[in-house]
């Protein structure tokens, strides 16, 4: 590999046996109170994957229950299960998944930094995350909640039974974790880039994390205030959202979606960042339209703040507001489309390896394209009136959140797994896993598009017999998906204990994280790396002039 980066070149040098971050410090406490961003990232990884398992099992219960029109569960049980599935997947899995696990691990490495700007704050945000998650668990154990993850009033404030306040408090606390992580990353990116690393020489993953962090810092306080007001209403009976007490239920929806729409981008932008890295590295190509991709991330996070009302086209908000929100929603489609086109164009005249991460790129593009394009139906106000709150919406956001974010997360995990663990997994099994995810996912959710257009409402515990066929198909798909996830879990675990030692730089990446040892040493780099060229200047590219910086 040519030397794009000037380090003191002691990396992996024989005889230089410095402990890696996994070895330095033993025992549970050395992990729980570590200030090392890599260990914190790894702990986040284990936590989010645990919650993903919980949320996934709940989803399987839902799918099994929906095999027959009448089902077997009591309605109040079913309603609790779908609420918890949504709440767990969003608040403790999707939101922290990429930024807090992969982001924490990779971001300082990509910047050539020893750690994030505020390591203690980083640890604090992990502890807050666990504390908040504990409240969610407590809420489950003490009666659960059946409000839906959206907590719409006045049902949530005056009618629902169960531990609504505990769950809300959990969400409130989790918000602080998210804000602190975002703040930390923003400062780190501004202040700790290696000498010579201009903004345009940052890997695009960092641009995406930066845009995400902006949303975390600016939008999360709004959800914190909203759930706080809801807690006050529910516990003290002060009317804010419940019309019976003089409140306004539509106001709640405005507050809620003012956070929760940007959160869609908070969840998917880091995925975009991962895909940009993967497609470039595994095609050995400059990213096509670096600036377009970078700025579209920021544009998406900006416009993302102005379109919350598209969740409320039939809520009784004014017609004029609805039309405006519809227009702005179309506006956000453009930067998203630009990204997709650019990724595909990046593959042009590349040298594309069918590695597991690249298979996830293919899966991502396929699924996310469908997720994005079906968004157009929902952005079109007159069509949304028919589709709103049906399975079409359920299918659409699963294509975006699972097909987009989760697929990218898995791709990133497979890409950086060797770096994080020092071990290689089986590439064939990896590709099979990616294929099964692709297959199972499409079967599960394509069926739900059909259900939705034909009028099947969401959050229905029982349904009319004519919908059964597609529900059965969807459940079959979900089993394929479950098998895929257990397969992935299996070979990744196997790789930790029995896997081959990973080569230093298995994919030939040229961004800074591949300049460290594998797995990295505690302080990441010996000395300060200096950046002299862009993150995608692979030696295979014709005309790459060695050592000349490129903007």
């Amino acid at each position: 590999m040519s030397t794009e980066v000037i380090t003191d070149s002691t990396v992996d040098a024989p005889g230089h046996a410095e402990e890696n971050y996994l070895q330095s410090g033993k025992g549970v406490l050395s992990w729980l109170f570590t200030l090392d961003h890599k260990r914190i990232g790894l702990m986040y990884l284990v936590s989010v994957l645990s919650f993903f398992l919980v949320g996934g099992l709940l989803a399987m219960v839902i799918r099994i229950e929906l095999l027959t029109p009448e089902g077997n569960l009591a309605p109040e049980v079913y309603n609790r299960i779908f609420t918890l599935h949504g709440a767990a997947m969003i608040f403790v899995f999707l939101v922290p998944a990429i930024p807090a696990s992969l982001g924490n691990f990779i971001l300082p490495l990509m910047l050539g930094a020893k750690d994030v700007a505020f390591p203690r704050l980083n640890l604090l945000s992990f502890h807050i995350y666990l504390f908040g998650a504990l409240f969610l668990v407590y809420a489950i154990l003490t009666g659960g909640i059946d409000t839906g993850w959206t907590f719409y009033t006045p049902y949530s404030s005056s009618f629902a039974s169960g531990s609504v306040i505990a769950a809300l408090f959990g969400v409130f606390i989790l918000g602080f974790s998210s804000i602190l992580t975002g703040l930390n990353f923003i400062v780190t990116i501004h202040k700790m880039r290696a000498p010579g690393q201009t903004w345009y020489q940052m890997p695009l993953f960092l641009w995406a994390i930066y845009a995400t962090s902006l949303i975390q810092v600016l939008a999360t306080p709004v959800i914190a205030i909203t759930v706080f007001l809801l807690m006050i209403e529910r516990s003290l009976g002060i009317g804010i959202f419940d019309p019976a007490m003089g409140g306004d239920p539509v106001l709640f929806q405005h507050f809620f979606w003012f956070y929760s729409h940007p959160v869609v981008y908070l969840m998917v932008l880091p995925g975009f960042g991962v895909i940009s890295e993967l497609v470039a590295v595994h095609s050995r190509k400059n990213i096509f339209g670096y600036k377009a991709i970078a700025f579209s991330s920021v544009a998406i996070s900006g416009i993302g703040f102005l379109i919350w009302g598209h969740h409320m086209f039939v809520s009784g908000q004014s017609e004029f507001a609805g039309i405006l929100f519809s227009f702005l929603t179309f506006a956000v489609a453009i930067p998203t489309a630009i990204k997709v086109f650019s990724w595909v164009a990046t593959m042009y005249k590349g040298s594309i390896a069918y590695t597991t991460p690249m298979c996830y790129v293919f899966t991502f593009l396929f699924l996310f394209a469908i997720g994005g394009l079906t968004g157009l139906f929902l952005a079109t106000i007159a069509v949304d009136v028919h589709l709103h709150d049906t399975y079409f919406v359920v299918a659409h956001f699963h294509y975006v959140m699972v097909g987009g974010t989760l697929t990218a997360f898995l791709g990133g995990l497979h890409h950086w797994w060797p770096k994080m663990t020092g071990k290689m997994y089986n590439n064939k099994l990896g590709n099979l896993g990616a294929f099964l995810v692709f297959l199972g996912f499409n079967v599960t959710f394509m069926a739900q598009f059909v259900l939705g257009t034909r009028g099947m409402p969401r959050r229905y515990h029982t349904y009319l017999p004519e919908f059964q066929f597609w529900h059965v198909i969807s459940t079959i798909g979900s089993f394929i998906l479950a098998i895929a996830f257990f397969l992935i879990l299996g070979y990744l675990m196997h790789s930790i204990f029995r896997g081959k030692k990973a080569p230093h730089n298995p994919w030939g990446g040229v961004s800074l994280e591949w300049e460290t040892a594998t797995p990295p040493i505690t302080h990441n780099f010996h000395g300060q790396p200096i950046v002299t060229r862009g993150p995608y200047e692979f030696p295979e590219i014709e005309d790459v002039e060695p050592a000349k910086a490129h903007a």
Binding site: T68, P75, D146, Y152, P154, Y155, F159, P243, A244, P249, S283, R284, N286, F288, Y290, A292, V314, S315, E319, S326, F327, F330, I334, A337, F341, V344, A345, M347, Y348, K349, S351, I352, A353, F362, F366, A369, L373, L376, T380, A382, V383, V385, H386, H388, D389, T390, V450, T453, R454, G455, P457, R458, H461, T462, F469, F538, I541, E542, D543, V544
Partner: protein, 332 residues
């Protein structure tokens, strides 16, 4: 699931149900604006299909054509192409604006109810619907509407949020407590259509269903008139008994012979009644009718004239039922 239902379901699933009863993606189009919405839906659909094939087709082509055959395979130093980037921003941009405008105009049609629309009130509560026809004084649990005439629903909820959704009409709107929301539609032809609640409202949200029953104008007029009529399959005196309790006659009258605030009505029919002015009157149909509609015209001896009039509150046939009931408990 038995094999028969698998077959029928499969048939429905794959064949759709023919254009008249709905296409693969959409349920039957049963309101005047439904077909416009469907055209828009299919326009976006084909646009999406074309873009999807372009994107994924190109991806697949590149993935095969440029797959790594040799580890040192050279790649091309392309950083971007302004013309191409401009094109793939501008072309979708123009198409999206077209879709937006179409959607916006269709939405305006759906939002503004015609002036001559028939008014129906919708009340939602956990977990049922009820429909009021203010001009006819009728209340139902299924929505009955005439075909070919615009209908405007003014909706409100007694408790939490609900949402009124008729897939075949392509209409949906949340129903809120303490606030009125409205929708309108014009059903094309007689038939039956499903109503769903689409805003999660607790335990039995999925059971909060009802039907729209579309009748021809003529049948509708008959229906609404018939709504005022008593069910003929039940004996008239049975209706009388029910009305006697429902309307609170029992507060003052018994059928046991024991007087309350008013005389017992047992054995009255066909007898001679002594009035407060000293005269006598035969208790027959006309006398009973008069006693109910104009109680102070002839006051029974020994009683205060406290009976309220039921004029305008009871229909003719209801009074007949009451008379029949009293007759049944008559003397001789």
């Amino acid at each position: 699931m038995n094999s028969l239902s698998v077959q029928t379901i499969l048939h429905q699933a794959v064949q759709g149900q023919g254009p008249a009863e709905g296409r693969f993606w959409m349920p039957p189009a049963a309101s005047t604006f439904a077909s416009n919405i469907d055209n828009l839906f299919y326009f976006i659909y084909w646009l999406a299909v074309i873009f999807f094939v372009l994107i994924i087709g190109t991806m697949a082509y590149f993935a095969i054509k440029y797959r790594r055959k040799d580890p040192n395979q050279r790649t091309s130093p392309i950083h971007g192409n302004h013309a191409l980037e401009l094109a793939w921003s501008a072309i979708p941009g123009v198409l999206l604006i077209a879709v937006f405008v179409w959607g916006f105009r269709a939405y305006m049609d759906m939002s503004v109810a015609p002036k001559d629309a028939m008014d129906i009130r919708v009340k939602a509560q956990m977990w049922n619907w009820s429909f009021d026809y203010p001009s006819a004084g009728v209340n139902t649990t299924e929505l009955v509407v005439p075909a070919g005439r615009p209908v405007k629903l003014t909706m409100s909820s007694k408790d939490v949020l609900h949402s009124f959704f008729v897939p075949d009409f392509r209409v949906k709107k949340d129903v809120l407590p303490n606030r009125y929301t409205t929708i309108w539609f014009e059903a094309i032809a007689p038939g039956e259509h499903q109503i769903f609640c689409t805003e999660y409202c607790g335990q039995n949200h999925s059971k909060m269903l009802s039907k729209v029953i579309v009748k021809s104008q003529e049948d509708f007029d008959k229906w609404i008139e018939g709504q005022g009529k008593l069910d003929e399959s039940i004996p008239l005196s049975e209706h009388g008994k029910r009305i006697f309790t429902e309307r609170g006659c029992t507060a003052c009258h018994t059928m046991t012979g024991q007087a309350g605030a008013g005389p017992s009505l047992k054995g009255k029919y066909g007898s001679q009644e002594n009035l407060a002015d000293g005269s006598q009157v035969l208790v027959d149909d006309n006398y009973i009718r008069e006693s109910i509609m104009d109680p102070t015209a002839k006051v029974v001896a020994g009683f205060q004239p406290v009976m309220p009039t039921f004029k305008g509150q009871l229909r003719d046939d209801e009074v007949d039922a009451l008379i029949e009931y009293i007759k049944e408990h008559g003397g001789q």
